[in-house]
Symmetry: C4
Subunit: 249 residues, 4 copies
């Protein structure tokens, strides 16, 4: 039983107590305040997790992310997947298995947002797919020749970033009734698109990961910039790629 | 006469004096500064009220909500509906009877916003209703299969939140010349939709309530997110529900 | 000559030195920081002026309004229209004669913004007017049945605010090459629409005034809310008034 | 070799250490925090540089611009183009040759943004050009009769600002795979449009310069205001100039 693994209260609290602003328990709070300002975690949505040494730090579920405090953090032993610290009266994030899937691919930080720009591009790709009788899972969000693409890493084990003439592809998975049930399709998308550091979830949002909090955050910002631009492009009838025939509303 | 019920000045002031940031008189100020940043209380519009023990704390009418101070608060005895504290030179909120209607249903906090997204969805539903010769009161704002719906409570006395596949319905009432005249139709909407924690007012805004300030605020944010998304979906020609035939502008 | 009227430096500086945040020299700085956040004074545009007793306080021209300091203020004697204080190296606002026109109508504070929403409604009304071969000056911005209209005062010497069923009319004047040349047409619009507390300037922005800084600011916010809503309504093909036939883009 | 020119560490650090908020090393940090809030440097994009006496201060590449610290700055000797200070573990900005091109024209500050409004106007002008079989480099972004144009300087060596009836023209250059490869076409645009203080880069963003940080910043704000307005005008079917026939989406 997970409960058996909990550390004594004082040891558990020590895991989230630090005067270093870069300590994971502090950093998740700072990041989430920024995410709130960006519209990514409105109404308790979204979340973030950091892997630090052998520990996973996780924001709780169903709380106002912009008001998180270090003592709200869950801490899990990565190897055993057992909680070392579970704040009473809070629930662990339903995103936990999805964050773990990213950590298993080597990530050090994983972010989940409900950004409306992410949701809208999934809706637009869904409509484009239907128009040609494709299923959504056969399609990605695709865009090219936008400078911000150069902020996206090439892929796991490949040094450097995408080039301006590279096409960015972000896979989209179907949403499910329960967040944890996304895990299998997320892992499948990771297998099918081994270079991706992000997976869109239809009518839901996005999961983005990176080697560390800085790279995950800047990638998440860059993708959100591209989704927002893409929505505005569609409103203006501008194509996302040279072969995009869905430029009309 | 209400005036007779006013407490002596020092006792009345004690009701709004506290160093605890969660004290209702302090919390309403903090909440309203956040609401201003979200565009909910522009130009003295909107308001908020908290029920705490046997007392109702109310922001005054016609003042800049982002500059509220604890000593600006009205305090009412909930049982007798008599003011215990009335700041001189300020007017009580015209929303008071509407807030009381929510408290009578068990709410602990009620928020009123003039959010443009709320106003725009009432205008869009109104047009959709007219197109099929329905009256507005026969229609709700309806949306489904958006993850953020899962932040909306199932309803009074029902534990838990709506599911992803549940349809969210928010009733809409007609606006009136005087805000207090909305009370009857608000109460009727509450009867007709006993599970709702929110009622839209046509060309005006929304009333949202919850068990406590946290739940009212996060619900209000989640609904505003959904209204904003819905407006953007309509701009892109995307339907709100599978049976929505009004996807065209 | 105006220069002769300048007070000795120490007396002039005393006019803008106060620890009271409500002192006009301090308040203009605070207001302008807020206006910048609202997008009203981008790129040194816009401005604000307060009449206090027999003095007029004016923000200078061509400076970043969000970085104003009390010692940047010009001070004018209202009766003689002579500057008492002119900061060296700064230029007086070209809006000065327009602000004075509002003060002559009894205003205590006047705000000028370059809000994009104000500019866009002038462009939309211009197009609507052309479509029926009217000149722009025959038209106003007109909207009705939006709750926020109730934040607009009825007019000079008339107590109270507009009602929900009243039609709000804001006159629009032609822009000129030089801002001071707007004065005559502004005064004509004030004569033609004696109840208005605001005049839109085509392809330029808006002048808004009120009895005091609070009423001018909240009116300016309420009008900006209505202009923004009106632009969004037009994007969605929604009419501004029941007789608006220009609802299509 | 550039490395030979590096100052000893203590002397190099002294170049970026000052308690004066207007010192270039401090000012770049302050400016970049503001640029982040404006959406100009999302996801490590964009940058800024200040020329001060004989030195060039440069923000590094690939870092979060809103978190810059003075000790992150690169310092170059303008005459010799040799770095005097290169923070270990940071990369110099790829914009450096472009910033230098502006400094060679007499600028004291140069700003590079990835503003979506800038990107969108390049896309709209590109489409307009194609519709009449023109190449993009034959076209500029052009707008007239908008008050904010009066915040744009007339041109190098010409005192004063554009008038309301002047047409603003901002040249657009093709984007390249590598940012430094933009230098030649930027310089060509500077030759072809000697009065311009800004050059748009297709699908990328904009370079803006001015005599000093204040004038570069306010120009960059004014242009961004005009680009944003232009996108909204196009969404509403409003022409940018009287002879603009591309007003339809």
């Amino acid at each position: 039983m997970a409960e058996q693994q909990l550390l004594p209260s004082s040891e558990a609290d020590a895991l989230v107590t630090s005067s270093d602003p870069k300590h994971p328990a502090n950093l998740i709070c700072t990041l989430c305040r920024g995410f709130y300002a960006l519209g990514w975690v409105t109404g308790t949505g979204g979340g973030a997790s950091i892997r630090h040494d052998k520990l996973i730090y996780l924001a709780p579920s169903g709380v106002q992310k912009e008001q998180l405090q270090p003592h709200d953090m869950f801490v899990m032993d990565y190897a055993s997947r057992q909680y070392l610290r579970k704040p009473t009266a809070l629930k662990p994030s339903q995103c936990t298995p999805l964050f773990l899937a990213a950590f298993d691919k080597g990530a050090g930080c994983c972010i989940h947002t409900h950004s409306q720009w992410a949701v809208l591009v999934t809706l637009l790709v869904e409509r484009d797919a239907r128009a040609v009788n494709q299923s959504l899972t056969e399609r990605c969000f695709e865009i090219e020749e936008i400078e911000q693409i150069k902020a996206v890493p090439k892929g796991r084990g490949k040094p450097g970033k995408l080039g301006y003439f590279d096409r960015l592809r972000i896979p989209i998975i179907e949403n499910t009734a329960h967040e944890e049930d996304l895990t299998q399709s997320l892992e499948e998308a990771m297998e099918k698109y081994p270079d991706t550091h992000a997976v869109l979830v239809r009518r839901h949002g996005i999961y983005v990961w990176g080697d560390d909090p800085r790279s995950a955050t800047t990638l998440c910002e860059s993708l959100d910039y591209l989704f927002q631009l893409a929505v505005r492009m569609r409103e203006l009838g501008l194509p996302w790629t040279p072969d995009d025939t869905n430029r009309q509303k």
